[in-house]
């Protein structure tokens, strides 16, 4: 039925339909609410109740991680790549123009090679 109304049907044959997605989301939300209603009514926030259990160590003091420290492991793993990338991103105007001319010349060389192949 829904497939016959233009605009309401899925946009691909494999069937992504946003309305279906919203319906599924609503069902999941209802499930969450239902599960939550099973919880104990008399829960009180107290010491250590909602804290993370760090293998028996004393709970650490709260300190926030700065944004530039996020995903430290990722940057450590790809250190070589990022060093090269940052070396390219110099921020000098002359380099910007150099890269533009580089691309123009590459494109023109490719086109001229195409001409000689095609002719």
């Amino acid at each position: 039925m829904a497939a016959e109304i233009p605009g309401f049907s899925g946009i691909m044959a494999t069937g992504w339909s946003p309305l279906m997605f919203i319906g599924a989301l609503a069902i999941v939300l209802m499930l969450v609410i239902a599960l939550r209603s099973f919880g104990k009514k008399g829960f009180k926030e107290g010491k250590f109740r909602a804290d993370a259990f760090l293998s028996g160590n004393e709970p650490m003091e709260k300190h926030d991680v700065k944004a530039s420290n996020f995903f430290w492991g990722f940057f450590e793993a790809f250190k070589g790549y990022y060093e090269k990338m940052l070396a390219i991103h110099t921020g000098f105007v002359n380099d910007y123009i150099f890269w533009f001319l580089f691309c123009v010349s590459l494109l023109l060389i490719a086109l001229c090679m195409g001409v000689s192949l095609w002719a």
Binding site: H89, F92, N94, F98, L101
Partner: protein, 125 residues
Amino acid sequence: MTAEIIGNLPFIVSVLMIMVGLSALLFKKNMIKMAVGLSVMGSGINIFLVATCYRFGSIAPIFTNAPLSEASKAAVEMALPVPQSLTLTSIVISLAVTALMLSLAMLAYRHSGTLDSEKSRRLKG
């Protein structure tokens, strides 16, 4: 051979000017010199545009009171008007670009005390 070179001289000059302008933009760190380079490059392209519309022995394309050629009593050949108007427009635009570039270079000098684009650079990465 020489006739060909002379006939194509405007195009050779325009390519040379474009190259000079580009090399200034590529290798000069002084912002004023970059503006000069851009201006030279623009002039090179203007020469190219004007050269495409010229025919040998032609006159300016003004139809009012256009002279007739003595041999055939027909109108004298005229240069193509369209590239000339393109050139005029592009001169105006390159004037605006040069003025804007020079004023930005002046402001950058006021802020950082140097015209060197590498020394005054703050944005990177």
